[in-house]
Subunit: 375 residues, 2 copies
């Protein structure tokens, strides 16, 4: 039986382990927190820092394969493991490119993949030389995560708010739609594309409200999204599962925003809505089985459950009864011991053949269910 390690023990690891139980695989998880969401669903849990060379190397050296559920891991250790014959999904070279927003942006540029016009900065003073990129988005090369390390620069008068560090400044695209596309690459190089999904935002709060699959985009945009996503992963030359985040502008041009070389929040609906879920698919890739079927059984929406403002502590899921009485809704709580404002605590997937019904139910769930703390 293959021994496979996962770096990181969050909700993505948890859902990977739920899927692993269908396959002949011995699971190992490395994570600092021994009460993390994935700690009690694996065969072997090892407490340790995924960013530490020795810890990752020692964790991986007796495994057949290793994968990640977060990019912020020790890439050098993965490179050494790869040299010694441990299979790594995705390849460490991919992680190296993705982890650094400057290298990631250069990668798109070098391979002729459409992405927002950009430059590379070392200080916020340099913004004055790139006024034509404003309004723009400045992203730190490294260390950004979950919305941190990203800064909007509206015009030159606000340039002093910019990061005074190694970073990317890219022209802000006039976004008509935000789309994501999951794509699987097998060990034999075969690829399988999931249908694109569409993010629906609350424009006032700048929050991802919910996500719908398939995206409501015309054929031409769909094909562009597929072609660009394929181009992104083909040039990586690595097996694995990839989530390509795309912007569609008002002229129906499609641009890559970012790529995640792993299972991803935008693919959770695939658990119930698709024949092969993203988690099932990653096991197929790692274990060398044929790629799964990416088609959807029914259209779906995902509603993320986010820790409410002003609530930190043991979570209480307010409105659970109402959501569980919705006929076509599926609840996933991540088993986190503490809620914090903005923390991802779970998600709900809803299935329906009618887009209007999806939107109606998604809004209903969004309003019914909150993650708070009890007095």
């Amino acid at each position: 039986m293959q021994k496979v390690g996962i770096l990181g023990g969050g909700q993505l690891g948890r859902m990977l382990l739920q899927a692993a139980a269908n396959y002949p695989v011995e699971t190992h998880v490395l994570e600092n927190d021994d009460n993390c969401p994935a700690a009690h669903l694996c065969r072997h849990f090892i407490k340790g820092d995924i960013r530490d060379f020795d810890t990752v190397y020692n964790f991986g050296k007796n495994l057949n394969a290793i994968t990640i559920e977060i990019e912020n891991v020790n890439v050098e250790a993965l490179e050494k493991l790869e040299q010694e014959g441990v299979q790594v999904f995705p390849k460490p070279s991919v992680l190296r490119t993705i982890k650094n927003k400057v290298l990631q942006k250069q990668y798109y540029h070098e391979h002729g993949i459409p992405t927002a016009e950009f430059t590379i900065l070392q200080s916020n003073q340099e913004i004055f030389d790139w006024a034509h990129l404003l309004p723009g988005v400045q992203k730190l090369a490294t260390g950004g995560y979950d919305g941190k390390g990203v800064q909007i620069i509206e015009d030159l008068s606000s340039s002093h708010f910019g990061f005074d560090e190694h970073s990317v400044l890219e022209k802000k695209i006039k976004i008509k739609k935000e789309v994501a596309l999951m794509i699987a690459v097998g060990q034999d190089g075969k690829t399988a594309l999931y249908p694109p999904v569409e993010m629906l935002f609350n424009k006032d709060l700048n929050l991802l409200d919910f996500q719908i699959c398939p995206a409501d985009i015309g054929k031409e945009v769909w094909w562009k999204a597929e072609a660009i996503s394929l181009s992104v992963v083909r040039n990586f030359n690595s097996p694995g599962l990839f989530a390509v985040e795309l912007f569609v502008d008002e002229n129906n041009e499609v641009f890559v925003n970012e790529t995640a070389p792993r299972v991803h929040n935008s693919g959770h609906h695939t658990i119930e809505a698709h024949y092969s879920s993203q988690f099932d698919m990653l096991w197929r890739i790692i274990l060398g089985y044929p790629l799964g079927n990416t088609k959807y059984i029914l259209p779906s929406a995902i509603i993320n459950l986010i820790g409410s403002d002003n609530h930190s502590g043991e979570p209480y899921y307010n409105g659970l009864e109402e959501v569980l009485s919705i006929d076509n809704a599926f609840l996933h709580l991540y088993g986190k011991q503490q809620t914090k404002p903005g923390r991802k605590m779970g998600h709900v997937t809803v299935l329906s053949s009618e887009r209007a019904d999806l939107i109606y139910k998604a809004n209903k769930i969004k309003q019914a269910l909150t993650v708070i703390t009890k007095e």
Copy 2:
């Protein structure tokens, strides 16, 4: 967070735990074998004998609730736990009735639930007094499991093959269809019925070949099956999940064969094919949430993976590649460390809107996949 224990750590426990990860519940498993299918997917694994009073009592006394994945557990300990306020699903009184085939049969009789005509025997000599029940099926009152403890008595000349023990002798029904119906009973007494499923047998080998949902039975038989199943569970006065096995004879009369007061092999298709799976449903019942939606998303078939004859030892799943390349098939291996002839090692669910496609694929999977040992 509720602490819930499961007695037994086989595949049913394993799949219960896969579903538990979506809910706020702390899972505990009691089982003698610490390499059992459920051992590494729970929060707390306790090694011990589920048939021993003290072991079960000590396991359960600090839990909020307890359930079973096999009937062969210590009922006295569950009764004591119930008296002390631990919720037991199903109630121990139900287990007491179901575990004993004589009491189970008497239960159907007392409540006017159609079942094959029968008598109760203490020895095989008594068969001569009940010649009109032959050809008949003799079942041991206790101790039978997975086809053991059941004996066909064709005629009086073969009565000496019968069990010389406390047992039931029932008239063999001329079976046209074998059907099973899963039914959920909430803590508030509300019920939800899954659509009946139909077993398709290989008549030569007397093996369950595969199972299809929904059953191909007329409306009248469907309604009878529902009415009988409701009657079976209503009289138990117990929350829980129940699988009612039914025979349909050549006159479209419907009879109860047996009832299992737990998640059941005949409900595995619900994982992918239904909105609320049988495992999801049992957690909803235990945690006091609204019952789930029993409707199917698509019709389905289950193919059981059974250990091949003449193969005992570390399992090798021959034909996995072929099955995993079927577009609408879902693999579930149970992680058993040893295969044995006849042992349930996994199952495959296949979904399709076309019954002919289901049968075609089920046969293909049946032929492709075998569980053997490697030299």
